[in-house]
Amino acid sequence: MTDQHTLSSRDLRAGYGGTTIVDGVDLTLPAGRISVIVGANACGKSTLLKTLSRLIPATSGQVLLDGERIDRLPTKQLARTLGLLPQQPIAPEGIAVADLVGRGRHPHQKLFRSWTAEDDRAVADALETTGVSELADRAVDELSGGQRQRVWIAMALAQETDVLLLDEPTTFLDLAHQVEVLDLLTDLNRSRGTTIAMVLHDINLAARYADHLFAMRAGRLVATGAPRDVVTADLVREVFGLESDVIPDPVSGSPLILPRGRHHTTAVREPADHSGARA
């Protein structure tokens, strides 16, 4: 089990070139849980994640790790606690899987004592956890999209951070691989106690896999809490501008959103809102 670290933001604002995209966000990622940030396109969810992971600086407010401002922590020390899988990471041409995953060890290595048995162990563990041990000596270029995403997650795991942020880890994957990746992250959360926060596009998968949801609209948080407590037809309307019914997912019991478009909505609408109050 890992130590518990708390990543939080205080009145956080961020954006690009004078445009404010994240507009005053206060949040605390529950330690040891899976948090998912959801929202419509361009609501600022990805920018929020990037600011939390110090990829872009806050224009005002702060991001705090255990109460300390992350922009004041030494970058290497921070990188041993806070990991990030960006949306489109780039693999060098021809690199072997084990070598790429090994680059996750960067913050643990020193200049002149670069590779240790501990690094080999961390890489082996990461490959095993993500189920790609048998690919260790293959070139990353040769892998399928699903395999490649597992390798990238393995690289983030090899970094052995207690907090892991992921920017849309399921994009470009088919449904089976999306579920596979989310199961994998859940395993990781349960076995290592890693605090996970990610941006997901699919609200239904988010509602199923999140312990805690952060729903955003126009740069602000509009709802936070357990999916069962916060996902309602009203929230879906507010966040996505979409009419919908929300029913309990027959597989998981989590809220399931059934969108109502202009076509193919012949069923009579259920009058009651089943899922209870917003947080």
Binding site: P86, P89, H106, W115
Partner: protein, 351 residues
């Protein structure tokens, strides 16, 4: 690298280590082979010429013994030529692979994107118009080379991360600066063809011991600096976001690497002229030899030096007329450039 007993490792970790060592062995063999080749080329360069001196004479001259004839020919003519070639090859090789790795694009080497053209134009300007000393010439080449790099970076701001836009702008600026070189050479009618060729394509002809210290100092200081930064470079290769996540101070690392690489290319250009395509070819050839995935700084430096010496030997002895080294490297590099450009247009932007 550490002396941990293998018994402490789990089977899975041992397998990882075995794979890593296998790739490490290939790299070590590649580097050793390149080193042997370089030594062989150096010896050949010292022995061969209008008069062929036996190895014994060459060794004697290098040991500062007085050998009639050989002392002048080898000591005064051939040694500076070899040293200039090795230093320029190392400098171009490191500069090229640093740019290519950082921008993740094999086209992004300083000789393709116009930086060495800037340094060359500045050197010719200093020599022809200012009639400056070699120190001032080197300094001006460095300043203009850095300015050219800055101008290209500024003009390409907001482009894609693969550097497609930067490369096109760089090729354009490079063409302009090459025109400046040609114009200045036209004006300098007192120059002989050999001197002119040096600033157009690069040449080791007329290399003198007293011109070498700036380049030697640059290589001695900057090559280790790039080596120290090569771990950060490998993280930057994964993209800005991943490098930041791995704890690299990306802005500082990028700036140091760019300045070091540009300076190496400019010092080499000020000494030997912009030897065509050495920076461009060294990294990709090194990757073929040692495999990708590990740092290419050392192998690319060796390949760069071997390319310069090998091409100079071909230029001097393979044909009836002697050609400067840059003509030969140009002939070697041009087809590869065409292949890459075709690949780039097919993939759209970065290859």
């Amino acid at each position: 690298m550490t002396a941990t007993a293998p018994a402490l490792l789990s089977p899975a970790a041992s397998a990882i280590r075995a794979g890593r060592r296998r790739r490490g062995r290939r790299r070590a063999i590649g580097i050793a082979a390149l080193s042997v080749l370089l030594v062989a080329l150096i010896v050949a360069m010292l022995m061969l010429g209008r008069t062929i001196y036996p190895l014994g004479d060459v060794v004697a001259v290098l040991a500062s013994q007085d050998v009639p004839g050989a002392s002048f020919t080898v000591g005064t003519l051939r040694v500076p030529r070899v040293v200039a070639g090795v230093l320029a090859g190392i400098a171009f090789g490191i500069a090229g692979t640093t740019f290519q790795t950082m921008l993740r694009n094999p086209l992004a080497s300083p000789d393709v994107i116009g930086i060495t053209s800037g340094a060359s134009a500045a050197a010719v300007f200093a020599l022809v118009v200012l009639q400056a000393s070699s120190g001032v010439t080197t300094l001006l080449a460095l300043v203009i080379g850095v300015a050219t790099a800055a101008a290209i970076a500024l003009a390409a701001r907001g482009g894609d991360s693969g550097g497609g836009r930067l490369i096109l702008i760089g090729i354009g600026i490079g063409a302009m600066l090459d025109a400046v070189v040609s114009f200045l050479i036209q004006r300098a009618s007192e120059w002989d063809v050999a001197a002119a060729m040096r600033w157009l394509t690069g040449s080791l002809n007329g290399a003198r011991t007293e011109d070498l210290p700036p380049l030697a100092i640059a290589v001695v200081i900057l090559a280790p600096l790039v080596l120290v930064l090569s771990r950060d470079l490998r993280a930057l290769e994964l993209g800005e976001a991943s490098a930041t996540a791995l704890g690299v101070r990306t802005g500082r690392a990028r700036l140091l690497l760019i300045v070091a690489a540009v300076a190496l290319a400019c010092f080499a250009t000020a000494t030997t002229g912009p030897i065509a395509f050495v920076a461009f070819l060294a990294g990709p050839i090194a990757a073929r030899i040692v495999g990708s995935g590990s740092s290419l700084v050392v192998p690319a430096a060796l390949v760069g030096a071997c390319l310069v010496l090998g091409a100079d030997l071909i230029g001097q002895f393979a044909f009836d007329t002697a050609f400067p080294v840059g003509v030969i490297t140009g002939i070697l590099g041009a087809p590869y450039l065409i292949v890459l450009l075709i690949r780039t247009s097919r993939h759209g932007g970065s290859s």
